[in-house]
Assembly symmetry: C2
DNA sequence: GTCAAGATTTGGAATAATTCTAAATTGTGG
DNA sequence: CCACAATTTAGAATTATTCCAAATCTTGAC
């Protein structure tokens, strides 16, 4: 993996295989869209961007691809507000800052040993943590002050 | 506030007023539904339950009430998966455990000083943290083992 | 108390997000 | 080359949420 977390074609393909999926140009395209602009797009937005390179791609395929990529650990699914689900290709441990004013999303690094020491009742098996910070982004904070 | 976090009628009404809202029987009813069964229902589920006591209540009103109650700090809105938003009347600091198998949600207490020491870049104003733990609940874990 | 203004509710339509379906296409192993 | 399974496609269907205009309710001013 290089500095920006991009995977080579064969790494990408391997990941899919490991998860029981085949490599397809559509899956590659969807993944590329996510890597190209890391603004946590919704499925609809991914569809629009993917269409530019691959005009015949369908809605259902985009959903299928996103699900497959999430399942094999190449993408994360992010749930922030009542709106559409967003997707994120950054698989490092991090959390999301969500601006309640403009709906933008930012990746935020977590301190090294941050796994919150939550103790779960007996029998619960935790698989992953999702931390979202809601607030106001710098741009919107500035805009607010002017008022 | 008593042991289960229930508010008296007047506390409830005050909260609404402070947020700039009026007391209405519908808002009371919606809030009561949330208090009666703390299983993190969706808006649709709240609608169904509220209808039992108040058959004329409408869909739009349930959404309006839920939004009002969230805004004046009587409810929390919980986003866990691609499905509908859920609501939670527990305003103590806690996080949610979501069972990816059966979709059930559990409140999980956070250790006293758990506010993750996330350092936000300059200019970001954090207002609240939402922590979700995804995994498998005891029932589903048991069911899985049998297979 | 009465009236006007503003808040709230209602039912239904509209929109948005996601899933489903059946047929066509593609890729793979035998 | 064939059969089978995975995948894609377009479009319909479903689910979740929001919007809208009309009716109703509440409150403060008089």
């Amino acid at each position: 993996m290089n500095a920006v977390g991009k995977k080579t074609g064969s790494e990408f393909s391997e990941r899919l295989n490991t998860g029981g999926f085949r490599f397809t140009p559509q899956r590659q395209q969807v993944y590329d869209v996510l890597l190209q602009k890391r603004d946590h797009p919704t499925a609809e937005e991914v569809f629009i961007r993917a269409k530019k390179q691959m005009p015949e791609i369908s809605h259902a395929t985009v959903y299928n691809c996103l699900d497959a990529l999430v399942e094999c650990g190449l993408l994360r699914q992010v749930q922030l507000d009542r709106g559409a689900t967003r997707f994120c290709p950054n698989m490092r441990e991090h959390c999301h800052f969500y601006c309640d004013v403009c709906d933008s999303v930012y990746d935020v690094d977590l301190p090294a040993k941050s796994q919150p020491g939550v103790s779960l009742p007996k029998g619960f098996k935790a698989e992953r943590y999702e931390i979202a910070i809601h607030g106001v982004c710098p741009d919107c904070a500035k805009a607010k002050m002017k008022k």
